[in-house]
Structures are given as structure tokens and as C-alpha cells.
Amino acid sequence: MAEETHIAAGQAAAPAIKLRHINKAFGAVQANRDVCLTVVPGTIHGIIGENGAGKSTLMSILYGFYEADSGEILIGGKPTPIRTSRDAIDAGIGMVHQHFMLVDTMSVVENIMLGAESGAILTSSVAKARAELERLERDYNLDVDPDALAGELPVGQQQRVEILKALYRGADILILDEPTGVLTPQETDQLFRILDSLRKQGVTVVLITHKLREIMAITDHVSVMRGGEMVADRVTAATSKEELAELMVGRKVLLSVDKQAPRVGDTVLSVEDLTYVDRAGVARVDHVSFQVRAGEVVGIAGVSGNGQSELLELLSGIRPMTAGQVDVLGERFSAARPLDPAAMRALQVAHVPEDRLRMGLVRTFEAEESAILGYHRDPAYNRGLFMNGEAIRSDCAKKMADFDVRPQAPALKTANFSGGNQQKIVLARELSRGPRLLLVGQPTRGVDIGAIEFIHKNLIAMRDAGSAVLLVSVELEEIMSISDRILVMFEGRIVGEVPAAQADERLLGLMMANAATEEEALATHPGLPGAIAVEPE
């Protein structure tokens, strides 16, 4: 590991973290192979790598969640054996896991106190925790309502709670595993502002992400993993997205999508005054009207929580609409004649749900079973009363080959594929039958850039093949690069439409924040957006 030394060179202070020759195998899978890593105190250190490269595993080892088979961990120069999370916490390490470690049914304060209570009886601890919370919120402008139930907070807020948890335990090393995967640009900006102030206060941050622009925007150093090994360390300033991408995937990657002008056909989906009022009586989707025509991609931008998710679920028939009407391929649906998922599939409407683990897959099923979810009644998979095992397997194998799912094992448990590959399974299922209308939510969430490139290509291919595509994503970059038209949602209403050609992040950002004037817009958007806005490729 030549790079290792070249980073350490010049730094007087002992490295905050030093990992020496870490090995970790899960049965046959060598998740980490002889990994070395040096993190300079008070810096933000990025780690990138394909899905399944071993990033989460490495961090789990550092946090004592897994135990390394061999290797050594030094914290602040001292050899520190870390067997349990307790050891890690004592060593001043805090971690924000990819899938949050919060107790949904408990309040924010309770979540933060958990494991760090000051006494056997809570009342005192609560008081102390509140005080401490206020301080932290002041110092790092991390504000959350201490009495809200963790489960009812939006993801961005939940993540802050996780960070607060770490800080509350006096962590001076903070690990974040794919923190931005679930965040909106706005939330990302805020997160980065927080990380920035943490860095200023001397906290060391390790940041795992699939998004190179974030690496470029915020990190000081970056390490690249591939196939369980550490393949490169770079000083961020001295590298480029392209180089990193290549190091990561091991080949050249196109970071931008090239596509011809759409050949638009007739209207496939037409929505009129679609309204959904939730139990609390709030109109989550509020008199929404729009059309999607064959051969075009319509993107829906918006800060998450402004009704896009609900909109998709309404159109796919998962949620019952409250009012309005929807025409899909000549069929008319309304509150009186509600849509239902089965019927929509019959109409060749495909749906890639936002949350693959919650909705798109059954983690305990074999991949091939997950790969027919929703189409299990299809004659192709059935022989009279029985399901046709061979057909299902061969069909799944084909899909895996087409969408380059790794490992290519139809019989493997769904849970044992990395999130990125799980996502590919869902896409393969929904795309490969050439639907007339495709509803897509967050198609590239938590997916590595190699896969992103691939997925985008496929979406464009669908559109060119004459499907109508409705794309919901919080990734403005994604929206802008794939869509032909962009609708912006705010508080359940569609507040504007922009042809993709004229769209840019700032304009969309303003509309998403529903900012009336430039000034107000800037107020909601200061600081970093410029910095992380797409550099012209």
C-alpha cells in the first residue's frame, strides 16, 4: 500500500484511525482482504466503491459490529482492540449506519439517551439529555424536535438524530455509511454544512458514498475499494471524478447520459385533479393534473415528503385515491372505480417502488421468487394449478444476465444481494417486459455509479422503445439528465413545469422550495449548492 505512506507523510499528529491488514470473510465471501487505511485527524475522509466492495463491512469492523478475522486497529496511534460497539464508543468512535439504528416507537431524546443514560432513573437523564441536546443543536445547528417519535421523522431528521447520538456520546471520530443515499439535495447541503462545522471543531469524519460529486465537494482524502481490497488512496484535490470512477469500476464510466430528442406518441397516462387525503386529514396529493405520452420521460422533482411518493403509490393502485380521475391506456379510474395493482399490471403498467426492501422485494425469498413478485399469476410462470419452476428459474437467470446482477444466482436469498444488486433485480423485473407505462421511484438510490450508468441507459432505452416513463427522484442531476419534461411538486401540488433543456439545479431548487423571489430563494439555498452544483462535464 504505497499510498498509505504518502498520505501519512507530513502529518505530525498521530493518525486518528489506522487500520492495518484487516481481513474479514463471511464464509466463502472475502469481504475485506488485507485492507489498510489511514485517516488524518480533523479531516473528512471519503470511501467509495462498488456495491459489495466491502465498505460497510470495513466500517462495521471499525465500529465493533463485526470482528475482523485478522488485522490491527490503531486509534490516535494507540493499538485499540475493538470487539464490541461498547469498545468503539469508548474509543470515541460514532457511526451512522446505512439502515438507521433507531427505535421508531421511542422519542428522539429517548433514542439519544439509550445506552448513555446518566442514572438508573430516567427523569434526571432526560433533563441532562435535553440540556446537552440544546448545546449540540446550537454548536452544530442540528435542530430536531426532542419529543417527536423517531419513526415519524423524515429520513433527513432521523439521520440527524443518529449524528446527535454519536456526538452525545462524545465521539470525535464519526463514520457515516451512505448518509446521502436517502437525502434530498437540500438535506444533503445541510448535512455537509454540519460535517463542515464538525471538521472545524476537530472531529474526524469517515464518509461512505456512491456520489463522486459529494466526494469532490467535501472530502479531504478519498480511498477506493474494489472486491474487498483497498485499491487507491488520493488527496481529493489531486484527483478527478473520472479517475475515481475508473478506479472504482475498473473501466471507463460515462458520467453523463447521451440521448436523442424524444419521438413522442399519443397520451398514455392522463391525471386530472387527483387528490389523496391521509388519515390525519392532510391533502398529501392535492388536485394534481398532468399527462404522460408514449416515448417521453416525465420527471417529477421535489423535496421528498411533498407528495411524490404518494403520487406514485396512487398511480400504481397501492393507495386508494380520494378524488379526481386517472385515465390509463383508455381505462378510466376514479374514487368510485379505484385502481388496483393487479389491474394496472394487466394494463402493462410497471412500477419500480422507491423502497426496494420495504416494497419491491421479499428479503427472505430466493431471488427468482422476488423476480416474479406481482407477476406470479402470469400464465408464463404457471402450468395450470401449479407454478412452473423451470420457467421461473430460466426467466430469472436471463434477467440477471441482461441486467448484470451479481452474483448471478437465481436461488440465492434476496437478502444476500447487496442493495445495489437488489435494485437491479427489481428493475429487471419491471423493465424487461416492455411496459407501456413505467412508474419509477428513486431508481438509483444507494447504487454505485457503474450501476447508475447502466440503469439510466435502460430507462432511456425504454423511452426510445416507445414506453411512457414517469420518474420520481430526489436526485436533480438524475431528473435533469433523463427527463424530457420536469414537473416540480410542492406540498402535494404541481407548482411548475420546465422543459429539461432549460432546467438547471438552481431554478429547480427555487421551485422545489416554492420560493417566490430570488432573495427568499437564496435565503433557503445559501452556501454550498454552488459548490456542489454539477460541474459542466
Binding site: 395493482p341 428479503r363 406481482g374 419452476g389
Partner: protein, 376 residues
Amino acid sequence: MSTAPVKIPRWVDVGLIPVINIALAFLVSGVILFAIDVHPLEAVEIILYGAFGYDEALGYTLYYTTNFVFTGLAVAVAFHASLFNIGGEGQAYIGGLGVGLGILALDPYLPFIVILPLAILLSAAFGAAWAAIPAYLQAYRGSHIVITTIMFNFIAAALMVYLMVNVLIQPGSMSPESREFAEAGHLPFMHEVFGWFGVKVTPSPLNLSVVWAAICCLLVWVFIWHTRWGYEIRTVGANETAAVYAGIDPKKVIMLAMCVSGALAGFVGINEVMGVHHRLLLNFTAGYGFTGIAVALMGRNHPVGIVLASLLFGMLYQGGAELAFEEPKVTREMVVTIQGLVILFSGALAYMMKGPVERTYVRIVGMTQRPAAQEG
């Protein structure tokens, strides 16, 4: 999931470890037996011989096994929809009622060939109906299936006592039993069946329903893993949100799963009422419904596992009875105790020996690397 460098052959998991567990159970039981100076090894021998040693013994063992297969399958099917059906006892009871009423009404007029399918249908229908109410309440009113099924066990018992004592009892009879069925209402015993083919077998309560149990195992296996309905049941069980996304109506699936479950439990009635007693009577379920829970879970909710677990319990019931018979010092409660220990070691503590055994196996094979962590 993750594969170990040293592949642990299946026979270790499915063969060796269970045997070791049962051995442990008998070891502990042995201590108790020893305390009341019964020779442990002889006891084990009596149990094994008494359960499998000769055709009659085997007959009784399989007869019990039949009941456990039915109730075990019942619990398992519900479990695949993540429903905990504790109501097997009541469903079996009512299923038996269905058989009884049907035969009492029809046996003067119809031949066996007609009555048999009707009886099977009735037991299924009654059992399913008794499960359908809790299912409906769970699906549409959100009342917890565990409570309702417990309650329905009690209600079933009350209903049966009422009917037997006030309605179905033969006038002037001391015991609350219906009249004996006519020949047409008897399910042939296996010894009779063998008799037809000129094979001489000692009589035992084992009857044709054991065949039906075998068929049910096959049907359940196909139903759960090879039909779209089974697929839907498993989907709802594993991830309800995903089920909704897939256009599956969890409510309907709950009803389906519970009705199938209840029907299977109801078949106990075929074995007991039509197969053995040839009359309707009280308490013929004798706790088979409850034991079915342990059977299903020990059999990992898979027909093959359930058959094995049922055989184990069948052995304990029949062999245990023989032990109590042969050894005056061994009371029936002693037998119950031994049963408890076996369930404890081969069920609850099933994984206890897995680690050590696999490690030693690996050592024997001569590899030093630790095998994979087992699945939870």
C-alpha cells in the same frame, strides 16, 4: 447462506445432531429413571421396541403420528402467513363433529364409497369454518388471532359437551357418546386393508387416514411452494407491504390460510371419529392440537420436518405408554416428563450442539478454519 470453506454435509445437520439431541434428552430422563431405580437403558429399549418393535406397536405409533401430521400441517400453513393458530384443538374438535353429524345422518342410506368423500369434505368444512371466524376477525376487525383462537378452543369444548350430553347421546346411556356408526361409516383399519391383500397384521387403531395424512403432506408441500396461492401466502407472511405492492389482498390471504389450516386440523376428526371410535364422543382431540404447535415448529414448518417431528411424538406417546405398562414404577406423568425433556432438547435447544458438533466435525476432517455461523 454464506458457505463454509469446509462444507458440513447434510447428514450432520439432519441426521447426527437430532440424534445427539434426543440422546441428551434420554440422558437427563435417565437420571430421573435411575432415581426411581428403573434401568435407563432398558427404559429406552422398551420405548423404542414398544414404538417400532412389532407391527402392532408400529400401528399405534403411526396412528398417533397421523394426528400430529394433521395438526402440525395446520399450524405450519397458518405460520407461513405469519399467523399463529393456537386453535388447532378446537378446529379438530369441530371437524370431528362435522364427520360425526354427517355419518350419523347418512350411514343408514349411503354406501361407504359415498360417505368417505362426504366425511372428508365435512371435516374440512367444519374445521375451516371454526378457523374462519378468528381469521375474519383478524383480517377485518384487527382482533389478535392468538386470543381469538384460544377463546374458540374453549367455546368448541363447551359446544361439544352441550351437544353430546343433551342432543347426541344415546338415551339411557351413561357415557356421553353417540350411537356407533353403521359399517358404511367406518374407515377401514390398516390391518383390514392388509387383510384384503392376504397380509396378516395385528389389529391396531391405524386406519386409512394415515394414507390421507401422507397425501395431505404432499398437497401442502405443493400448495405452499408450487402454487400461486402458496406464493401469496408466503409473501403476505414475509412482507405485507410487498404483498400489497404485488396486488395481493392480505385480508383474503389471511382467510385462505386460516381456512386451509382449520381444514387440516379438522382431519383429526376423520382419524379419530371415523377411523378409530366409530362414534362421536368427548375429548377425542386429547391435546393433539396443542402438540401440533411444537410439531410444526420443530419441523420448521416443512412437511418433511413435520412428518419426522410427528414420528418422534408418535414414538413418545406409544413407546411411553408401553414404558408405563411394562415398568410399574413408571407413572404416566413420568412419561409426560420425558416427553417434555425431548421437546426441550430436540426442539428448543436444537442448536445447542450444532456449533460444537460442526467444529468437531471440521477438526476431524482436519481443517482448522471455523465453519460458517449458522442461520438464525
